[in-house]
């Protein structure tokens, strides 16, 4: 049996998203049995990379919890959507970088959490170089 995993797919995969546009996509769990899942969290977030300590902010957060009575079927793909914010835009700086991604975290009744992540680009900011 394969290891459990999460796959995330974005509609129009690979294109640059603009602020105010709707991000659409779906996620699917592999090798996870019905009843194994305690909760699923879907987040659209940005985080920083580079020299500084990591900053992170969640733009969209949804949690489905079996304990709260939410219906979770790990055998079928689930869709998500969100309207993207005006800022911060994706940025490839020298010591500060800003990355956007969709992150799906699956809490299982047994074992470690499963985490799947899919990066995307918000805005069309030029990469920086040392001046």
């Amino acid at each position: 049996m394969n290891n459990p995993s999460v796959t995330i797919r974005l509609d129009d995969n690979g294109r640059v998203y603009r602020p105010g546009e709707t991000l659409l996509g779906e996620y699917q769990l592999q090798s996870v049995m019905p009843g194994d899942v305690k909760a699923i969290e879907v987040s659209v977030l940005w985080y920083s990379e580079g020299k500084g300590d990591e900053d992170m902010a969640v733009h969209e957060f949804r949690r489905l919890s079996a304990e709260d009575g939410d219906w979770i079927d790990p055998t079928r793909p689930a869709r998500f959507d969100t309207i993207l914010p005006n800022s911060p835009l994706s940025y490839d700086g020298v010591i500060v970088k800003i990355r956007w991604c969709v992150r799906v975290r699956v809490f299982l009744h047994r074992g470690k959490d499963l985490v799947g992540q899919k990066a995307f680009q918000l805005g069309d900011v030029s990469a920086a170089k040392v001046s």
Partner: protein, 438 residues
């Protein structure tokens, strides 16, 4: 092979490899110990200080006594000798005579012998039993041997309560915070934090922050109208404050170093030079001289170079758009050149061990105006206008807890026979797309 349970971590800042569960449990334990210590201290304080005080005021029975003897009791500790007044009194309850050394319910000592002496002076000993001098006293009905000459507490005793209350607050708030976040993912916690921030009624920049998250509002930039253009930009760091800062550093550093210099100089003059101390002191003296030079340079800049003003036709700026700039330089100067540049800097703050460090990197520096070889006369400031084009595809201003991208206009003056100067005027750039005019 990845470990399923890591009990240690060594990465920098928040990016750690260790077990977050163990970390959270450790933090909870830490706060729980704080809370427990605070609660135990508070209970002890209550039983040892508050209850006896309350009983004296409410339950002790008023009676009369005579003072037989008085003295100042002394206690020696590491800080010196402490004093407290004591009186040997005699009182009679239901035909039974009691004798006791007493004053207040708590044996409070102080370092002031004079205060204790003053209290002793308020009571007179009865020398002649035929003419007793009576004073009020209060005794415990449950234990008549327990007696006091004064009621009421010392207000400063309540200050002791600050210690347990601080422990309870730190431990309690920390524990509640940790319990609320227990078992929650980083994303869940971030979502909770975002929700909490949205509810901040006192955040005046909330509207702009809601429209452009993590873009500084820049309200302080547009609160001063210009005389030629829409807004007069505020200066980043006032030359006066810079001068004050350098003066403070100069006085503190040289003040301390000069004490050692005097000692060394005395040794040298007395024919008994300490060369090790002299050599050790040398770099400190060099730094002190450098600070003096720095101060003199800043003094010349502050007093000699007049105020610089920059006005702009619109704000906040947007990439790809063009703006008018007005530059004014006052003073009495012969200028080799005056330049205005649009500068972008990345600023990253990170923890290294117990230190917090900040690194800044310039990622954009484009000259937007230059004028060579001219003179500024007193009362007739140099004034000129130019165009400012914000580059297409430029990153917008950004600010988060540890990372920042800030833009500024830098006015750099090359002055003949005078130190050169640079003055910063921060600006805010909004994202080009999705902008809604307000």
């Amino acid at each position: 092979m990845a470990r399923s349970f890591r009990y240690y971590g060594k990465k920098r800042g928040n990016r750690r490899t260790g077990s977050s569960t163990l970390g959270s449990a450790g933090e909870m334990l830490f706060y729980a110990v704080f809370l427990l210590f605070g609660c135990v201290s508070a209970v002890a304080l209550f039983y040892l200080l508050v209850i006896p005080q309350w009983r004296v005021s409410n339950e002790f029975v008023e009676h009369t006594c005579i003072v037989l003897q008085k003295r100042i009791a002394e206690e020696k500790d590491q800080d010196g000798t402490l004093y407290r007044p004591e009186f040997r009194i005699k009182y009679e309850i239901d035909g039974v005579e009691y004798f006791a050394w007493t004053y207040g319910i708590h044996k409070v000592s102080s370092s002031s012998r004079k205060n204790s002496q003053k209290i002793l002076g308020r009571f007179t000993e009865t020398k002649d039993p035929e003419h007793p001098i009576e004073y009020p006293c209060w005794y415990d009905p449950l234990n008549p041997e327990k007696v006091v000459l004064v009621r009421g507490g010392n207000w400063w005793m309540w200050l002791i309560a600050i210690v347990p209350v601080s422990f309870i607050l730190i431990g309690g708030i920390g524990l509640i915070y940790r319990v609320l976040h227990w078992g929650k993912s980083a994303e869940h916690q971030a979502a909770m934090a975002r929700h909490a921030t949205r509810g901040d009624l006192f955040d005046t920049g909330n509207k702009a922050a809601g429209q452009f998250p993590n873009v500084p509002p820049g309200a302080d930039i547009t609160n001063s109208p210009g005389t030629r253009l829409a807004f007069r930009l505020p200066i980043g760091a006032s030359p006066g404050w810079k001068l004050f800062g350098i003066l403070l550093a100069c006085v503190l550093w040289n003040g301390i170093v000069s004490v050692f210099v005097v000692f060394v100089a005395k040794d040298h003059l007395g024919g008994n030079p300490d060369w090790v101390l002299t050599l050790f002191l040398l770099p400190f003296v060099v730094v002190g001289i450098a600070l003096i030079v720095c101060f003199i340079r800043q003094l010349l800049l502050t007093t000699g170079v007049g105020p610089t003003m920059v006005e702009i036709s619109d704000h906040p700026l947007v990439p790809g758009r063009q703006y008018r700039l007005f530059v004014s330089q006052a003073g009495r100067l012969v200028m080799n050149s005056l330049c205005v540049s649009l500068v972008c800097e990345e600023k990253a703050t990170y923890r290294q061990g117990t230190d917090t460090r900040t690194e800044t990197k310039k990622v954009h520096d484009r000259e937007v105006y230059r004028r060579d070889g001219f003179e500024v006369r007193r009362g007739l400031p140099f004034e000129d206008e130019c165009e400012l084009l914000v580059p297409e595809g430029a990153m917008h201003s950004f600010k988060s807890d540890h990372n920042e991208i800030h833009w500024k206009l830098v006015v750099a003056g090359d002055v003949a026979v005078w130190p050169n100067y640079k003055r910063d005027f921060p600006v805010v750039i909004h994202p080009a797309v999705g902008r809604t005019d307000t």
